[in-house]
Amino acid sequence: MSFLRRDELPALLRAIHDPPRRLYVRGDAAVVFARPAVAIVGARACSPYGAQVARMLGRQLASAGVVVVSGLARGVDGEAHRGALETQGHTVAVLGCGIDRDYPAAHASLARAVAERSVLLSEYEPGVEPAPWRFPARNRIVAGLCAATVVVEARERSGALITADFALEEGREVFAVPGEITSALSAGTNALLRLGATPLTAAADVLEALGIESEPKAMTTHPLLELLPATADELARRTGVTPAALAAALAELEIGGLAAEGDGIYRALA
């Protein structure tokens, strides 16, 4: 287990107004700091929509060579890390406790996977307990490491908005994923959009802002994808396909990574 002194930190993080004195490291920091980084943050109790968007962005940004930075929390954070790991990309988890602590406990194996592939960071000494007042400070590092911050889903008073504030203060790009205006989980992100954050409609928006060429995706269209999001029963009624055949078609889309189900609703993964 090692740590980085302030003068060893990446330039972007060193540039914030109160950079950490040292960063404890679990994993290999060198590979990660050489690449452009984007933070993906959002609600812990996210909706299936939020989870799917976070995972999709994690996957697509990581496969374009971007390092996905987040906080290893449940919900959006975890999905973003997982998405990045799925494509063998790089991802950084910044913790609000000692790097040897498994917090949250449910993400212990995810933390191991992140440390194996990339790196876990914390400004706290090993052994420090997680505490609510440490998380905002952690968020400044998340935002500080990255050229851009993406907020996927956030309630009105969400920790993810603190991350977005830090990013704005340091003059970094802030993206917000538009959500339903009736959903409390989108209140925070939609408020960011009103204040002038850039709406995120695809991973390419972020890549463009970072000046990374994104190769145009081969469009694989399936007639069902145009009807999503919808429940299986709604699709059955609209297409006239039997529930059995429809279930098979939807499963094929899931295997192909083109759609995903959450709480009974199928969504397209653009």
């Binding site: 812990r44 109790a45 929390a73 449940r74 919900g75 449910a106 959903s183 409390a184 429940t231 299986a232 029963d233 709604e234 059955a236 009624r237 529930p243 059995a244 055949a245 279930a247 098979a248 078609a249 939807l250 499963a251 094929e252 899931e254 295997i255 192909g256 990574g257 189900e261 959450g262 709480d263 009974g264 609703i265």
Partner: protein
């Protein structure tokens, strides 16, 4: 004088022969009951005395002793009233002793001498048949149940009738046989509107005897759907029906007119149920809900609200198909091969999955709610379906297919699964492997998908499991946050 009547005590479901010996001798008038009789059985003394007097018979006014042998077997319940009364009457010379010895008997006496039926009559009658006793004297409304055992049931309404019959003075009251088979509660699948996917999953669960978990917000018809599962299950074969009836008889749950339970039983205990209520046991070693659901369906509505020990206790029967209740005095086996259907909300407040409501649960709260179910139990569900709230237009949809249309398909699929279970084609194998890789299925998850795919193929009367069957089965896999 000494006389003997024969009856049977049930240890679990197993009948054990009990000899009721009565000895009447001269001495100070007294009535003693010995032979490890429990409280309900001790109270027989009062009922028997009143019953004999009400029947205009003579109470042996001497020192009478009744012994229930073997003495080491604990005797429970009120079914010993009739044999005790008959043994006393024979011992005091009011009925012929030899004739009494040719009959088994059981029943509870009312103070006016009428006979009431007790639980477990079928077990007693089966014990009698095995012991070579062809005739069983029992309460008139227990007649239909006793005759299921293949014995001649002598149904009597009053102690006086039993005495007259044993004296050979009258023929026993004629027993008008009904067809004897209980009817299925009239719940039809046609009542369920919309919910195409859940209906399809229910049909698969019926065909392959798969355990199924239905998730979704409250009020969308999860329970309504689950309650209609018995209506699409094939009727029970005769041997199975007797087995089920035996269990229900012990619990005192059979209909006197239609005792034979010829359909898959359905049990839905409330989530406050104790462990003993679900797996059986208690001081009197009763079968629990899991055994009452033997060869049928056990519905656990609001699965996450059940006490954890009660759910954990279900793991043994889900594995072995029976429950072993062990006591210091010995252990009892109850069969419990049931199909488990669970329902649960997606979060503790219930709003998740409902577009018209806002879920207020924190991530930890949802995690805690789902953690209440052990992985080991969740592993038992082959089919997991999340049912979102239907839109109003769905509810206007025409009535769905009725149970009578679905059942023949289920029966045909079961025949196919039993006779020529389809196996996977290479293409289906390839798809399954790809799915394991892409959808991160565990080894057990893969096995469950394979089993459901086989049922889908059997339901389609296909020769082999094709890729489309595997693909459909994948749609019913457990979501990653519930999978293991």
């Amino acid at each position: 004088m000494l006389a003997r009547a024969v009856t049977f005590a049930l240890v679990g479901l197993e009948p054990r022969r009990v000899e009721v010996e009565a000895h009447v001798q001269s001495g100070v008038p007294a009535f003693t009951l010995v032979g490890l009789a429990d409280r309900a059985c001790q109270e027989a003394k009062q009922r028997v005395r009143s019953g004999i007097k009400s029947a205009q018979l003579e109470w042996p006014g001497n020192k009478s002793t009744v012994n229930l042998a073997p003495a080491e077997l604990k005797k429970e319940g009120s079914g010993f009233d009739l044999p005790i009364a008959l043994a006393l009457l024979a011992a005091s010379g009011q009925i012929p002793r030899e004739r009494l010895a040719e009959h088994a008997s059981c029943g509870e006496l009312a103070l006016d001498g009428r006979l009431r039926r007790v639980g477990g009559v079928l077990g007693v009658a089966e014990g009698a048949r095995r012991a070579g006793l062809e005739r069983v004297v029992c309460a008139y409304d227990a007649c239909a149940e006793a005759s299921l055992a293949g014995v001649e049931a002598i149904g009597v309404r009053h102690l006086a009738e039993a005495v007259a019959y044993l004296r050979g003075e009258t023929e026993p009251p004629e027993f008008v046989a009904t067809n004897g088979t209980a009817r299925l509660p009239p719940l039809d699948l046609a009542d369920v509107r919309g919910q195409e996917r859940a209906r399809r999953a229910l049909e698969l669960a019926a065909a392959g005897r798969h355990n199924m978990l239905l998730g979704g917000p409250p009020g969308i018809g999860k329970t309504m759907l689950a309650r209609r599962l018995p209506s699409i299950l094939p009727p029970l074969e005769e041997e199975a029906a007797l087995e089920v009836t035996r269990i229900h008889s012990v619990a005192g749950l059979v209909d006197p007119d239609h005792p034979l339970i010829g359909y898959a039983p359905f049990r839905a205990p409330h989530h406050s149920a104790s462990t003993a209520a679900i797996v059986g046991g208690g001081p009197r070693l009763r079968p629990g809900e899991a055994s009452l659901a033997h060869r049928g369906v056990l519905l656990l509505d609001e699965l996450a609200e059940f006490q954890r020990p009660a759910l954990e206790a279900l793991r043994q029967p889900l594995e072995d198909g029976e429950i072993l209740v062990a006591r210091a005095a010995g252990s009892v086996r109850f069969p419990a091969r049931f199909q488990l259907i669970g329902t649960m909300n997606l979060c503790p407040c219930g709003a998740r999955g409902d577009p018209g409501a806002q879920c207020s649960c924190s991530a930890q709260r949802i995690a805690r709610y789902r953690d209440r179910l052990s992985r080991a139990l969740l592993d038992r569900f082959d089919i997991v379906v999340t049912v979102p709230r239907p839109r109003a237009t769905e509810l206007q949809a025409t009535r769905g297919e009725g149970s009578d249309a679905v059942r023949p398909r289920v029966v045909a699929a079961r025949v196919r699964l039993a006779e020529a279970p389809p196996s996977r084609t290479p293409a289906a194998d390839e798809l399954l492997t790809r799915a394991v890789d892409r959808l991160r299925l565990s080894g057990r998850g893969r096995a469950k998908v394979a089993a459901v795919a086989r049922t889908i193929a059997a339901l389609a009367q296909a020769e082999a499991v094709e890729p489309e069957h595997v693909a459909e089965a994948l749609a019913y896999r457990a979501p990653p946050d519930l999978a293991t």
